[in-house]
Symmetry: C2
Subunit: 307 residues, 2 copies
């Protein structure tokens, strides 16, 4: 098994976030950014995304300093970066969007550098499924493709989403989205209906309740890592996906067992992200801190305690 190349495409954002713990204005965010920071803790990751000329130099350096390959970061002169302003309510499980400016995301998709075309592992962060499909078409021979999606596309672009599902190996989505897609309140049934539509596996993210992986008749459930002081949940799901894919790419293998282990990495990566605004808490995390939390996570899962 050799390390596989990993590419992500999705949004680069400038976020303003209000949580019960404080606020952060005009900070670096976006699905591809959070994914890339998560994955970069475990492997090299290539970022494909477009930003406007309002993206601060400082943020570009943050990406570089994390070791993220930004050849595919397209800074478009005269365009503005995607912006999101949101507020989390008391329990941090509910958030409301106060302002959403698509800006550059409403323009043509970013182009993919030639050097990325042979990328082996691919993550399509949440986006219009037609755009996600188009990106797949630009790759020469992807080996392992995983996509995220959201309620909006499940409701309004079901046909395109079904086409996407037939082209990917796996999908990662929230429990509410899994239930919405499948029309059942039972997560196990929901997972089966999703894999019936194409992907060989599905990862369902349940926030504070952890995540489950379903493939054929196999299931693995990983609890969330306990974080007492959640500062900002933004990016938890994307960085979770980054940890998941980052581990698989570093390992260069995607058996069910690999994916189960990858879930634990995703879980730990996300636990760092939510301890501060933007990518502040994840950007400097090294492998030893990841392994330390992962050891505790395994104990929480009963390893060394049960049986």
């Amino acid at each position: 098994m050799a390390v596989k190349s990993l590419v992500v495409t999705g949004s680069i954002g400038i976020d303003t976030v209000y949580t019960p713990q404080g606020s952060a204005e005009d900070v670096l965010g976006g699905s591809a950014v959070y994914f890339a920071f998560g994955a970069s803790r475990l492997t090299q990751v290539r970022l494909v995304g477009a930003a406007g000329d309002d993206l601060s130099e400082r943020y570009v350096r943050l990406l570089q300093d994390a070791g993220i390959d930004i050849e595919g970061l397209e800074i478009r002169q005269g365009s503005r970066t995607f912006r999101w302003t949101g507020r989390y309510l008391d329990n941090m499980n509910v958030r409301e969007t106060l302002l959403l400016e698509l800006n550059v995301l409403a323009e043509r998709p970013p182009s993919i550098p030639d050097s990325y075309r042979e990328s082996e592992y691919v993550f399509l962060a949440n986006n219009d499924p037609d755009v996600q499909l188009e990106f797949i078409g630009k790759l020469s021979s992807p080996e392992f493709i995983v996509a995220d999606t959201m309620d909006h596309w499940i409701r309004d672009k079901r046909e395109s989403l079904l086409k996407l599902l037939s082209r990917v190996d796996g999908i990662i989505l929230n429990d509410s989205e899994a239930k919405m897609f499948s029309g059942t309140g039972n997560l196990i049934k929901a997972a089966k209906r999703i894999t019936d539509a194409g992907p060989s596996f599905v990862v369902i993210k349940k926030g504070e309740h952890g995540a489950i992986l379903v493939e054929d008749d196999k299931i693995v459930a990983v609890p969330s890592y306990p974080v007492e002081d959640v500062i900002d949940p933004t990016g938890a799901g994307d960085s979770f996906a980054g940890g998941f894919m980052g581990y698989l790419a570093a390992r260069g293998s995607t058996t069910f067992e690999d994916k189960a282990i990858a879930l634990t990495y995703g879980t730990v990566i996300a636990s760092f992200v939510i301890e501060d605004f933007s990518v502040n808490a994840i950007k400097d995390v090294d492998v030893s801190r990841i392994e330390e939390r992962r050891e505790r996570l395994l104990k929480i899962m009963g390893f060394g305690i049960i049986e």
Copy 2:
């Protein structure tokens, strides 16, 4: 370690339940009943509860056939059994009470047979904390006391509940109740605030998301056992507690490790209960079927897959 005697006190009920899968009229229910059926799959259990003379002979036989010690079942002539009618909404996570008749539960508490006074392990199913405290007072030398409670008592009887918490070893409650009691949306913080009030451990039940055990700075999380066709969730929590306490009593030991393993038994026991109305699905379950599901549960928890 020797087997410990186990006693439960709580409600004996006659339930009428409507779920999206069907309905059942005037069936055996109640917190102590579900607990006793769960525990009886793993050990002897003594039942203390009061019913009216409307409790069918058939239901008394059901309890006996399950091997439950019913010397403490007090059938009160001229009284009516506690009755509950409820309906589950589509996703089975929300239920509404259509009818509640306290009946015999509004009378004096049941008396405890002399032969039960030396019971070693004790489970106080959900009830008025003052009644739960009174029951503790009737025991000569309980070694291990665990209580359940609910939102109603947290809101309206906080002082009594705090007194109860100072007298028990552990408490089992739902996540929404843990959050309500502690005034925090963070489950880990909630668990700490609860143990600060007295009990050395807390088990938080999260329905389809499983359960967590918190004691000192140790946590174990066990996912729910996947059940695709949930017929009736009634009694899941009480039978879970029955499996948990039943395992501990059979083992005669209550270390953190024992409790962690006990969580897996509670989880499996509850998974049977919800597959049919009333106690239909649990009453004949034997140890081999329990161990079969438990082995699968351990796989879902990653045993043999992760690391």
